[in-house]
C-alpha cells in the first residue's frame, strides 16, 4: 500500500489541481479567521471548551452512565459497542428485527471509521448517504476526503459527470444550483421511502440524555423525522456535561469549520415520537485506549470541525485521500496511529510541525506536539523506515563529536564545490525541485579561529 508521501506525489502530478485545492481550502480558512476574529473573547471561548472537555475526559465513565440513565428514561434505547464490528452488528441487528433492507444516512464520520456502509452492503442492505457531499463520494465509490467537506477534492464539472451517470442529469451540466436540485429530487424520494435513518451525533448531553446533530442541509432531520427507526451513532468522547455547555461549543463549531456563525440546523433529539424507535450506539473503538495514553488523550477533545485540515499547508497540497484513513489531516494523523500503529506509521511524519493546526483548534488540542510525540513512539515501537534508522545513527554519531563533525562538514563542502554532480543528481530528493546551497570556502568556525582568537 502507498504511504502519504507516495500518494502526495501522485496528487502533485497535476499542479493546477493542487493550486485549486489549496486555494479552495485556504478560502475556508480565511472565512474561519473572519468569523473568529469578530468574537473578542474567542481565545477565552477556546479555553473554556478545552476545559469542559478536560472535565469530560477525566470523568468519562460517570458521564456515560449518567447519559445512559437519562436517555433510557427518555425512551431512547442505548447500546454499547466496544469496536467497529460490534457497532455494525448492532445496526444490522436493529434493521433485521424490523425487516428493513434500505436505510438513509446523514453525515457520520464514525460510520466511515467503522466502514458501516460496506458491512451493511455485504448483508444485503442498501445505504443512501443524504448529505450532498457524502452522496457525491458515495456515487463515485470513494471515501470522503474531508470530515466536513467530504467531496472538496471534486470540481463541479466532475460532479456533473457523476450525476449524469447515476442520477440522469443532462450531460455536461455543471451548474451547482441545477446539480443540487437534481440531488434534492433524488433524495426526496429516498427520504419518503426509507423506514430507517441513521445520523451521527455532534454533542450528547449527560444531564438531559439528549443529543444534538448539526447540519446545514436539514438532511438529518428529514431522515430522522420520516423514519420509523432512528439510529444515532456516537463516539464515547462526544459527551458534554450540561445543556448550557452547548453555548460554548455551538459558537465555536461552525465558525471554526466553515466561518458560519452557526449551522442552519442544530437539532436536539431527546425522545422518540410516538410510534418511533430511537436508538443510540455508544462506540469505543480504541477511544478508551487513547484515553489511557497520557500524551495523546487530549486528541479525544476533538469536535470534528475540520479547521486543522483547512489550515494545514500539507493537507491542502496533498488532499484528504493521501492520509488513507477516515479522518484525514492533522487530527487524523494523531488519532489513526492509536487504531493501527503499523498501518498509519507514516501519518505523524506527514507534517512540518508548523503548529498552525494547534492554533485554530477550537478545543486547543496540542496537535503538532502530539505529532512529534507519535514520531518518537512509532520509531521506538519499531515501525520506522530501516534505511532512515541507519542514516540517523550516522548523523547522531557525527554530531556527537566536534572533531568528526568538522571533518564531515569540510568534506561535504568540498564535495559540493568540486564534484557537484555527486549531490546534484536524481538520487538526491532535494535536487529534484531545488538547487543545493553554495559551499563557502570556510565554515564560521574556521573564520572565527582566524579572526577572533
Amino acid at each position: 500500500m502507498k504511504d502519504h508521501a507516495e500518494l502526495s506525489e501522485v496528487f502533485n502530478e497535476d499542479e493546477q489541481r493542487v493550486n485549486w485545492h489549496d486555494e479552495t481550502l485556504w478560502f475556508v480558512r480565511q472565512k474561519r479567521d473572519k468569523a473568529s476574529h469578530q468574537i473578542p473573547d474567542w481565545e477565552e471561548l477556546r479555553e473554556a471548551a478545552s476545559q469542559i472537555k478536560h472535565n469530560v475526559l477525566s470523568n468519562l465513565a460517570d458521564y456515560l452512565e449518567q447519559f445512559e440513565q437519562q436517555a433510557s428514561n427518555n425512551g431512547i434505547r442505548v447500546h454499547w459497542a466496544a469496536d467497529a464490528l460490534e457497532h455494525n452488528k448492532i445496526v444490522h441487528g436493529i434493521l433485521k428485527r424490523h425487516g428493513i433492507s434500505q436505510m438513509v444516512k446523514s453525515k457520520s464520520m464514525l460510520t466511515e471509521e467503522c466502514h458501516l456502509n460496506h458491512y451493511l452492503e455485504e448483508q444485503g442492505i442498501s445505504v443512501v448517504d443524504s448529505d450532498l457531499g457524502e452522496l457525491i463520494v458515495q456515487l463515485a465509490k470513494e471515501p470522503p476526503s474531508h470530515i466536513v467537506l467530504p467531496c472538496i477534492h471534486k470540481k463541479k464539472e466532475e460532479i456533473g459527470d457523476i450525476f449524469h451517470e447515476h442520477l440522469g442529469s443532462v450531460k455536461g451540466e455543471a451548474d451547482p444550483q441545477v446539480l443540487t436540485e437534481t440531488a434534492r429530487i433524488h433524495l426526496r424520494n429516498t427520504f419518503l421511502s426509507r423506514r430507517a435513518a441513521l445520523t451521527g451525533v455532534n454533542f450528547a448531553v449527560a444531564e438531559t440524555g439528549e443529543f444534538v446533530v448539526c447540519t446545514n442541509e436539514g438532511n438529518a432531520d428529514m431522515g430522522a423525522h420520516l423514519s420509523d427507526v432512528h439510529i444515532a451513532s456516537m463516539g464515547i468522547e462526544k459527551l458534554i456535561p450540561k445543556r448550557k455547555d452547548l453555548g460554548v461549543f455551538l459558537r465555536l463549531l461552525t465558525r471554526s469549520a466553515t466561518g458560519q456563525p452557526i449551522t442552519t440546523y442544530s437539532s436536539h433529539f431527546k425522545r422518540p415520537r410516538p410510534g418511533q424507535e430511537m436508538h443510540i450506539i455508544l462506540v469505543d473503538n480504541g477511544r478508551s485506549v487513547q484515553l489511557g495514553r497520557e500524551d495523546f488523550r487530549n486528541s479525544l477533545k476533538c469536535i470534528r470541525c475540520g479547521a486543522c485540515m483547512n489550515t494545514c499547508p500539507v493537507y491542502r497540497r496533498s488532499g484528504g485521500h493521501s492520509y488513507h484513513t477516515a479522518v484525514a489531516g492533522p487530527i487524523g494523523s494523531i488519532l489513526a496511529p492509536n487504531l493501527d500503529m503499523k498501518q498509519y506509521a507514516d501519518l505523524p511524519f506527514a507534517s512540518t510541525l508548523c503548529g498552525s493546526c494547534s492554533n485554530v483548534c477550537p478545543v486547543k488540542i496540542d496537535i503538532h506536539e502530539q505529532l512529534y510525540k507519535w514520531r518518537q513512539v512509532i520509531i521506538k515501537e519499531g515501525y520506522g523506515d530501516k534505511k532512515k534508522a541507519a542514516a540517523m545513527q550516522a548523523m547522531a554519531y557525527t554530531l556527537s563529536s566536534p572533531k568528526v563533525y568538522r571533518l564531515a562538514g569540510k568534506a561535504g563542502r568540498w564535495v559540493i564545490k568540486h564534484v557537484p554532480f555527486a549531490v546534484n543528481n536524481p538520487l538526491n530528493p532535494w535536487y529534484k525541485h531545488r538547487d543545493m546551497p553554495d559551499a563557502p570556502k570556510e565554515s564560521f568556525g574556521e573564520w572565527y579561529r582566524k579572526n577572533r582568537k
Binding site: 473578542p40 514520531r375 518518537q376 532512515k388 525541485h433 570556502k441 577572533r452
Partner: protein
Amino acid sequence: MRVGLFIPCYVDQFYPNAAIATLELLEKLGVEVGYPAQQTCCGQPMANSGYEHLTGGCNDLFVANFAEYDYIVSPSGSCALHIKEHLHTHDNEEAATGIRKKIYELTEFLTDVLKVEKLDAKFPYRVGLHQSCHGQRGLKLAQMTELTASPFSKPGSLLNMVEGVELVPLKRADECCGFGGTFCVAEEAVSAKMGKDRVADHIQAGAEYITAADLSCLMHMEGILKRQKSAVKVIHIAEILNGVKESVA
C-alpha cells in the same frame, strides 16, 4: 553579561556570513560574546524524525559548551526552540534546565533583553519577511494570524529600524515554507510545492530579498529561487540588521 553564541551546524557550514553578522551585531551592541569551539548541533534533525533517543551526545555537548554563559543566543528560531523544549541530560539536568531558560533567538534577544530601539544600518530594498514557524508559533516572535489577538512582530520591528527597508505585504503572512527538516526529502513533493508557493507570494509582492530569522527556511526557498533562476535573493535578518559587510565567498 556574557553571551554564548550558538551557531547551528548547517549555518556554520553553509551560511557563515549570517553567523559573522550575528557576532558583529552583538559586539557592536556592547555584548561580550564567546563562541565555544566544540559546538555542533542542537539535535533537532534526529528528534523531529522520531529519534530523540539518539540526541544524548548532542545534548551533553550542548550543556558542556554553554552552561557557563549568562545567555545563549542563536540566529535560528527553530534550533533555539528545540533546545528550549527538549534539552535534557543525565549528568547535569540542573545545567540543562538553566540553559532551557536562558537560550534566545537573536531577534528575541535584541528586543526583550537588549531592548534595542535603534540600529545603524541601511538596506534600501523591498524585503519580504518570512515568519518561520518555530520562531513565530513556538517562540512567539510575532503574532499568529490564527489567533484573535493584537499584532506584533519582533523581527518586523527591528527591520523597520533599518534605513531604506521597505517590507512588502504578503498574501499569506505566516504560512510554512515546507522545509520541515527531514520532511523536505521524505515528503519531497509536498515540501517542494510549499516552497514554490511561498516564494511565489514574495515575488508577487515585489520583494527583492526574502529574509527570516531562520536559515533553514531561507535555504529551502533559496534552492527553489535558484532553480527558477530568479533574481530574488535570500538574506538572513542578522545581515540586514548588521548592515551587510564582511563575507566569506
